[in-house]
Symmetry: C2
Subunit: 449 residues, 2 copies
């Protein structure tokens, strides 16, 4: 029966905490998965969730803590002593332990690390903390199963059993030489079907993908996806085996990347969630709104410049939100397609090809939308000369907007800047200003005011 | 040495194809990964890539075909006979084979299936084709390793070796009873560390997550992410084991879902790529632009209704693009946060709480932006009464836009409609119209025209 988070369950747990009925709480939560208990904790208040964390075994609570939302974890850790945190860390894989320490205030980190009992674990965690969190080193865990190329299958199985105890999932067994240089890999399946006396050097697969410890996390994600890998070994510049990255960490990288791009396109910086505080949400949203405001004030100035047209062609001014909307929408569409294309490496062909294509595309849209504007003008009894002017200048605006939307991300990408920041408000705002200026400029030339 | 796709390599291959030097082509591509060869093929023309596919072994080409971009695969398959396609299918796992058949024109599907030689493989593929592609059944493969609970570990290892030959990666060994009902699982690790005479029933883990074959694909992705699973068994309504889903398929589901949401937010329907044809791109983009156009024409009508203000307060009309931009940006921000929150199940608390929060949030933004408008008005020597009017009506517009952006997705979600369609042009356009109307309405009340 799958776990279901019900109001009744939460109320029952709160009541048990109030009665300090530890036995009943343990009985209730004992068989639940740590990810489910994390969900329960997110519905309790800080005092109650700390109570549960202190009550349960640290082999379970360490996993629960990792599953929790960062804000809640941070608060609970504030309620734990350095020694208690170190006990949790002892139960975690090195990569999760390093991530958890990295979230602590700096002055606490040293103290917590010094409390970790297992010296090897401590050294591994310290090593991981030194890597950039967006690099392969920041993603990898030190836990892995490795064997020496000079061993036999039998010795390998024996050694492996010991090592495997510390490794949650054995994807591949890595084969190294005496200097810890990665030579190849063995699968568990291979080990099961090979005579036990064969030397490893005869049975291992010498072709093994690996990434350098300083490789960018997104690049690692691309490699693992491309080659359908579930784990990849991480090596240093001398090809020595340092750790391994598993697919579940990559799933997180992919999700975070997608969410970041989505937020940037919507005009939100920083990773915010619906449940963050008003202050944090404002901090993420306001800068983009101010950018939009500046753009809007720019439009005001442009229209003041064309004020002379008011007496004869006041309707031109009524069309400005339409022009701005078209310029914005077309720009966002073009930039979104390019940003995704760049992320998936499928923006091919020369810049000239892309230019011709975007112009063709916006000509089609422009003609269709222009005809609709002329038809609507007819229904609203506009002068035909006026409607045609609006339609033609709108078409020019659409072409320019499409080009801006396409080439700004491409140029940013070439300069090593994340093209996703060019989507959303940035493109919309600059296209608003460009568009309104172009609209009046062309209308002036055609109508002669 | 990692593979690198260079111009020289492509030119070399094209030259070899022209010379029909099959030996040299085979020598060149033999050791490359199928994902790399797929990249090479995407840079060749149809005739050249078909030539390579016909030249290489079907155990390699089947994997290459699966890696190819759908458009290119479709064209190459058109150049192959039903028998040739069936040979490719014979080499593929059932899930990939079913996906490939599903892409063929319907009249060809039957013919190709009838050419598949392996009867069991044929039946499995037919079964998979019957499931909805967005369900667990549409994602699963029939290939898995299963053992009977009544066997010993020794018999299990022996049977497993035979079964494992057809399974690319053995994640878990599933344990079933005599009626094929899923009872539990064993890991390869367990098998390696258990005495061979133990009966399976004593060593297997009875707790195993599974999903129903009709479960929604996105739901499966959530479960596998939540519990950090690398594979999950799929069962029918009677808990009988039908197949299994692996994490690499889930990575694809997550990526596609993220890309779809991103495109919807940018006003693009259907999954299009930068390299699709102008016609396909137009089809995906035009409907949203027409929606925007209709909204823009609505604004024209609203402004005509307030035309009386032109003589005294012509500047009001200069501010309309600014108002529209603010309404649009705020709306998109709010809806993006809610859409992501709904996707991650972290929109908690009552609707009233959310209402209070959004109003608070937009009040802060509104006040900051309002002060900036008044300052800008001062610099542009606007009348202070006018600037304050613009600032206050803009604040009201921002509040309404935030509420629309928040509650439209929530309402859609409650009605079972994908809330992502409410982001982007839909919110922008409706907020443009609402915003401009509200702006003039409030300005009229305050300035009295």
């Amino acid at each position: 029966m799958p776990f279901e988070l019900t109001k009744e369950l939460i109320e029952q747990i709160i009541a048990l905490i109030r009665q300090q009925d530890d036995k009943a709480i343990l009985a209730l939560l004992e068989d639940e998965h740590h990810a489910d208990i994390a969900e329960v904790l997110e519905d309790l208040d800080l005092e109650q969730s700390t109570y549960i964390i202190k009550l349960l075994d640290s082999d379970k609570t360490s996993d629960i803590l990792i599953e929790l939302d960062e804000d809640i974890r941070e608060k609970i850790l504030q309620n734990l002593s350095a020694k208690e945190i170190a006990e949790e860390l002892d139960e975690l894989d090195t990569d999760d332990a390093a991530d958890m320490i990295a979230e602590l205030p700096e002055e606490r980190q040293e103290h917590v690390i010094s409390e970790i009992e297992n010296e090897e674990h401590k050294a591994d965690i310290k090593e991981l903390l030194a890597y950039d969190e967006d690099s392969a080193g920041g993603l990898m865990a030190k836990e892995l199963v490795k064997v020496n190329e000079n061993w036999t299958v039998l010795k390998c199985v024996r050694e492996m059993r010991a090592q495997a105890e510390n490794v949650t999932r054995v994807h591949s067994i890595y084969v190294v030489d005496d200097h810890n240089v990665l030579k190849g890999r063995l699968s568990l399946k291979d080990l099961l079907v090979t005579p036990t006396k064969s030397p490893i050097s005869e049975v291992y697969i010498p072709k093994v993908d690996s990434v350098n410890v300083h490789e960018d996390a997104e690049e690692v994600a691309k490699i693992m996806q491309k080659y359908d890998l579930e784990a990849i070994p991480v090596v240093d510049d001398k090809e020595r085996l340092l750790g391994r990255i598993t697919i579940d960490d990559i799933v997180d990288v992919i999700k975070e990347e997608a969410e970041k791009d989505y937020q940037l396109a919507a005009g939100i910086t920083q990773e915010v969630e619906a449940d963050d505080s008003i202050f944090e949400l404002s901090k993420a949203r306001l800068p983009w709104l101010i950018l939009g405001l500046i753009g809007g004030l720019g439009s005001v100035l442009i229209m003041e410049g064309f004020e002379g047209a008011l007496s004869k062609y006041k309707e031109l001014f009524f069309y400005t939100p339409l022009i701005a909307a078209m310029a914005g929408n077309v720009g966002v569409q073009s930039s979104a397609i390019i940003v995704q294309g760049l992320a998936n490496d499928n923006v091919k062909g020369s810049l000239l090809n892309r230019l011709v294509k975007e112009v063709g595309l916006s000509l089609i849209s422009g003609v269709v939308l222009g005809i609709l504007v002329i038809l609507a003008g007819f229904l609203m009894s506009m002068e035909i000369r006026f409607s045609v002017t609006v339609a033609i200048s709108m078409m020019c605006v659409i072409i320019v907007a499409a080009l801006v939307g396409t080439f700004v991300p491409i140029i940013l990408d070439k300069r090593g800047i994340d093209p996703a920041i060019a989507t959303g408000p940035f493109i919309t705002t600059s296209n608003d200003i460009f568009g309104i200026f172009l609209f009046f400029y062309i209308a002036k030339a055609m109508l002669g005011f």
